[in-house]
């Protein structure tokens, strides 16, 4: 199956943007990643099995493209993250603290944490998207949670 790209853009653009931002920590790069991901969907005439398959594929492509951005030698002049964070509105000081702590986690923990807590993916789905083993996902999730707990204390529940 295929879906019109206009529908996919409306449905997933923000999710892809947030995961790309989570990796790039830069809004211009994140927006480029989302554009490139949808361009790849348009040009790549792949047939998908289900809508969830499309969603997982888009997320995987966005993650790969965001990681590539970080590796690219010719990176744009990066706006300090703090400047962007000043433009965001947080509902509470805990929200700000959580955002700030997540964004400072090592990338490999940050991505797994994001797929689990933001995208509601199960461990086996995360393993499939990132092409790593389920046990590897569990380890990254566990270490990421510990780092969050160490910094956030009572703001972060023990949910392992």
């Amino acid at each position: 199956m295929r879906q019109p790209v206009e529908i996919l853009i409306e449905t997933y653009k923000n999710n892809l943007y947030v995961i790309a931002f989570n990796i790039c920590k830069n809004i211009q790069d994140a927006e480029d990643v989302v554009q490139d991901t949808f361009i790849q969907y348009i040009t790549f005439k792949k047939e998908f099995e289900t809508e969830q398959h499309i969603r997982a594929w888009l997320i995987r492509v966005a993650i790969n493209k965001a990681k590539n951005k970080n590796l690219t030698f010719f990176r744009r002049k990066i706006e300090p993250l703090e400047n962007y964070m000043e433009t965001l509105t947080f509902e509470s000081s805990e929200s700000f603290e959580l955002f700030d702590t997540v964004i400072k986690l090592p990338e490999k923990y940050r991505v797994v944490i994001h797929l689990f807590y933001y995208e509601d993916y199960a461990i086996k789905d995360i393993a499939s998207i990132l092409k790593i083993s389920e046990s590897n996902v569990k380890v990254r999730l566990s270490r990421g949670r510990k780092l969050l707990k160490n910094t956030l204390k009572e703001v972060w529940e023990d949910d392992e």
Binding site: N14, F44, L88, E94
Partner: protein
Amino acid sequence: MTNKEKYKQAFSGVHISDDFSLEVKTMTNKKQRFNQMIAGIVACILLVGGSSVAYATDLGGIQRTLQLWIDGDQTEVSIEFEADGSYAMEYVDSEGKTINQGGGGVAINADGSERPLTQEEIIDHLNDPDVRYEEDGSVWIDYFDQKIDITQKFDDDGICYAKLSNGQEVLYVTIKYQEGMAYSPKKYLSPSSFNE
């Protein structure tokens, strides 16, 4: 509030710009134009080419007539080689149209200096595998007399691996969908090693 709810609330302020869809359409056109300009990079030899490239014509080069495999058909081609490593060629395609193409390239020496490609190096590379993207969405590899449909061979990341043989040598080809290809007679090259 659960951790998931807290997490989603913390990231709820991160939003993409509202005029995003328009930018995608603009970028699509740019990307397609760019893809047509991607040059082949093989080992330490650089070749640039494409239809209607006028490259150092009328410099009094050496003209030869050769049989080359083009789009899977053996085709008589008239080629003029120039001393600067460029060439201009003319042939009649399977539909009877006269096609003019040109290109050129340099080889990079071990010390980093460049030299023009020789005639034989250019001929070798004119027989390289070629990837064709058809309007119906199908993708083909042309290699000597073979036309191979690889449309369904791409994985979820848009990567296709193909092993080609012309009866004398084997090539391991890695193709990135719309983003070029690389090959080696020894092994499949990693997608991250080219056109990143």
